[in-house]
Symmetry: C2
Subunit: 395 residues, 2 copies
């Protein structure tokens, strides 16, 4: 099928794949029918912080779902929440959140674009900043906006409920953010708003505010949080279980090849455009080549088909051609700093030897060179290669 | 003593008379000492709604306490909360609170001045509007302001606590008002803020915000609610138990003469500049002439000494010279509309007769003519005079 000529049922199936919440499916169906009749594409928003972007595959789950709307001809709004970033931490207590300058925000927006346009189609994307409508609001406007929502409703948000119950302070300004986010949807006249499952409540506020402003309530679609390469925890840079989209083809390929078979199916679902039917069909095949196709696909997305070929060739040579021994020793050693791990697993003879090897570039983890003495907690099951020694280390 | 040369103890005694709350007395003492040394008068704020003012004695309790600060040389800020009045009821549900225009607000401010300057000294009064600093606030400013206060603190306000507990909706914008009021104190650099006891919480918010803005926390002083002429309920126009400051000398005089002896002492305390010692001394006298002095004093405050003489003469002639019979019948009849009361107490022969008498101006209650067929619930113990008949009616 060509996607834009697909039936409404086919479109719905394509859009629903991998979603955590869809509120409500019948509304989305109705809206797709209308869009088909009128030729007016749907307006699909997702909001992003204007902090320095360094996206990993976890972030791309949402971007890919936005792309799916674009595949069907709809318009995506990449909304940068710059207004509150200009304030920083307004309580002044959190010094790690200083106010950002206009220049920093604009620079980060440019970096965002180079990264997200690897997935999104620039022709069908609006990049907007919410300062456009939040900055001119006056006290009277904010009173009016707040009058449309009750304290009880806002306090229903899980984290607010729990903090209030536990006596953990909620600053008054935190209550304003969900309203501001909902107001973004009003100003942008969104048909759909998307976000992670942790955004569910905020997205629902938009539905109510839009009704209050005489607009049809937006459809809310959330995507699940992606598990990291360890298959357990949410993918996150600080946990070391991430695959960054700006990492080298070789590293991405190797990291994907290192995930478990179970996680591989999850990645097929959330990180590719393959349908659930196509994924089900692959489950009858030998998993190794399927995982290799996944790794090729992901490298192709963020680099190119040519670099994917090269990455696969490198992987074949190093692993298949026996560079990485099949009978590698597996050692159990808890998370720690790199020198201590080397020492504790007999990959180095002394602390000094460990540090020297790291600095000299002789330490590879999953095929990637690590030269940072402070690196901690490599993903569980990582393959260490130091000099002629190979070990798989489980935490 | 001349008040401005009074000792700090004497000043404190003068200011404390009749207050419901004073937070905190030692701070006020300290601030009075500083003011005495530096010659810088204290800045004493009270806020008022810009709705059409038609003040009764209940409102003057606060104004008189503001005057007491002026008597000691301090500066009073009569703050008109115009910013939110320009919004009306922002939820749009309460049609009795439409937004006010700038012209209406300015007109009401002028009416206020003619009424309040009967008590306050215009030379020592600043009339301000809070739109001056609230109107220019941006979303970022409001976020910053809100960040200085927690939800838990705001929800401690009695009415919020109860409504939240009982599931009665609190609109989000209601939480912003106490913060805006506190911000008024910051911008005006108030030393003292005053209000009714129902304002206690809002005034305390100002203390915390000022500290957060690096100012010394204002002293909070509240005055009690004044009982109406019935001695039971809070004085209020809708309850008919009020004495309006724009009423005629004759009416004011009569209404004051109609209050109980107990209530008279309360009125001496809250409606005059007499000290508690002077009031205690009067309690050894025959109450009738003391009450007459109170009535004269109040008429003098809002009209003149000459009209007070005339009002007393009228009262003497009508009551003392036997126009109002001493052996008047007392009838018990529940609150109802005027025609029904006349009918039920045999002051009229029929409903038609009652209405005719009212319209013809033949009905006086406490010496005041009533021609409104819809008037309900005259104060308990009122003297009705219809034609030649006199009756005292208890509800």
């Amino acid at each position: 099928m060509t996607l834009q000529s697909a039936s409404v049922d086919e479109q719905l199936t394509y859009l629903k794949k991998g979603l955590a919440d869809l509120i409500r499916e019948e509304d989305l169906r109705e809206r797709l029918i209308q869009a088909g009749k009128s030729g007016r594409p749907l307006r699909v928003k997702a909001g992003f912080d204007p902090t320095a972007p360094d996206l990993h595959l976890g972030h791309t789950v949402l971007l890919r779902k936005m792309k799916h709307f674009q595949d069907l001809g709809h318009r995506v709004i990449f909304l940068i929440g710059d207004n509150t970033a200009l304030i920083g931490d307004p309580s002044g207590r959190n010094t790690t959140r200083p106010p950002m300058t206009r220049e920093e925000i604009d620079q980060n927006a440019e970096t965002y674009k180079t990264q997200v346009f690897k997935i999104l189609d620039p022709e069908k994307t609006e990049v907007r900043f919410n300062s456009e409508w939040l900055e001119p609001l006056r006290f009277a406007d904010i009173i009016r906006l707040c009058s449309k929502y009750t304290v009880a409703r806002i306090m229903e948000r899980d984290d607010f409920t729990n903090r209030f119950k536990d006596g953990i302070p909620i600053s008054m300004h935190e209550l304003l953010y969900p309203l501001a986010q909902g107001y973004d949807s009003v100003k942008l006249e969104c048909d759909v708003e998307m976000g992670g499952t942790d955004q569910r409540f905020n997205l629902l506020v938009g539905r109510e505010l839009q009704r209050d402003f005489g607009q049809p309530a937006q459809i809310v679609a959330t995507v699940p949080l992606l598990e990291g390469t360890d298959g357990v925890e949410k993918m996150s840079k600080s946990k070391g279980n991430y695959i960054g989209i700006t990492e080298s083809p070789k590293v991405i390929f190797r990291k994907v090849m290192g995930v478990s078979d179970t996680l591989m199916w999850r990645y097929w679902e959330l990180l590719t455009d393959k349908s659930m039917a196509e994924i089900a069909a692959m489950k009858t095949e030998d998993p190794m080549p399927v995982k290799m196709r996944l790794a090729r696909q992901i490298v192709t997305d963020f680099h190119s088909a040519a670099t994917a070929d090269q990455a696969q060739a490198d992987f074949d040579r190093e692993v298949r051609e026996g560079r990485e021994p099949d009978d590698m020793e597996t050692v159990i050693f808890g998370g720690d700093s790199l020198p201590k791990i080397l020492l504790g697993t007999n990959l180095a003879e002394s602390r000094t030897d460990a540090e020297r090897k790291i600095k000299a570039g002789a330490v590879e983890i999953n095929g990637v060179k690590y030269t940072d003495l402070k690196f901690v907690n490599p993903p569980g099951g990582s393959v260490f290669h130091v000099g002629k020694k190979w070990k798989r280390i489980l935490p």
